[in-house]
């Protein structure tokens, strides 16, 4: 089991998340297990659905993560309100991404609230991070 964890951390790092972010995702995974008995690991496909689907956001208007980030994670996006350029989310295109837990938790909280008008669950956060890592 220990070997598996190390392997998991190693392979995730190769894919673009830093060790501390991988550690954070392991914590999310533990919480997800307690919140959802049938939880069997994070899933990029579920993450993609979270990322690309449209919801009534904080402002009461239709909103999606792609409204600002676009549907191609390797492209830069634009803040839909201010027009400010947002660097690509994909760690492959932007090595700064998913390197700091402080940054990751800050933006997950803000952006879930802006798009879903609520915070994300541990499973949702892990799914969307997994989607970002793999794209």
């Amino acid at each position: 089991m220990k070997y598996l964890t190390i392997l998991l951390i190693g392979s995730m790092s190769l894919m673009g998340a830093s060790t501390e972010v991988v550690q954070y995702m392991n914590e999310l995974s533990s919480v997800a297990k307690t919140e959802n008995k049938s939880f069997a690991g994070f899933d990029a496909a579920r993450g993609k659905e979270i990322f690309t689907s449209t919801h009534t956001g904080k402002q009461g208007k239709p909103m999606s993560c792609t409204s600002c980030h676009t549907s191609n994670l390797s492209n830069s996006g634009k803040n839909s309100l201010t027009g400010k350029v947002i660097e690509p989310l994909s760690p492959k295109a932007n090595p700064q991404r998913l390197t700091s837990v402080k940054e990751v938790t800050k933006w997950l909280k803000r952006n879930f609230v802006d798009v879903y008008a609520r915070e994300g669950t541990a499973q949702e956060k892990g799914d969307v991070l997994t989607y970002i890592i793999k794209n």
């Binding site: 027009g83 400010k84 800050k106 909280k109 802006d114």
Partner: protein
């Protein structure tokens, strides 16, 4: 005598320079602490402010709003113009302290006759300076909003709003 002349020349140039600068840069009064170099700690706070707030929009110079406005802004980050702009408590406090320290003390720029302005674009000096700007100039895609200083003020990021640095997209220089 020559030394005296040199000193007077330098003094004249200095005074002239300051005069021209103040005349041209209408926002000079918005930055009362600008002439004093920032302490190491304030430099770090300024950098944090630029990083955190500048992630979504230009980090507007603190001197554009009075203390009471920054206080209200920083206490309402969970609904910051319709978005969640919260961050951890320590960073929030550092940025709040920084903004309060360098806030405007000049009511000519920021007095709202008792109301607490959250939008810099509603402060009297801002309104006066932008009175000739048409809606079309503002709403075009390259500008998007009156809050997008850098779209026209090419050095706004560095705190400079000189007229000769203005370039309005699809309209050109402001003369």
């Amino acid at each position: 005598m020559k030394t005296f002349l040199n000193i007077s020349l330098a003094a004249a140039l200095f005074v002239g320079g300051v005069y021209l600068y103040a005349d041209d840069d209408e926002m000079e009064h918005a930055r009362p602490a600008y002439s004093k170099p920032l302490s190491k700690q304030d430099q770090a706070s300024a950098a944090l402010y630029k990083k955190e707030c500048g992630a979504c929009h230009m980090a507007y110079q603190a001197g554009f709003l009075p203390k009471r406005s920054w206080d209200k802004t920083m206490k309402g980050l969970d609904n910051h113009f319709g978005t969640d702009a919260t961050m951890d408590a320590a960073d929030t406090k550092t940025i709040q302290n920084y903004l309060m320290t360098y806030a405007s003390k000049n009511d000519r720029i920021t007095d709202m006759k008792g109301a607490v302005a959250l939008r810099i674009s509603q402060t009297p000096h801002f309104v006066k300076e932008h009175r000739e700007i048409t809606q079309k100039m503002i709403t075009q895609p390259e500008v998007k909003s009156i809050a997008n200083c850098t779209a026209c003020h090419t050095k706004a990021d560095a705190g400079s709003y000189r007229e000769r640095e203005i370039h309005i997209p699809n309209y050109g220089r402001w003369e």
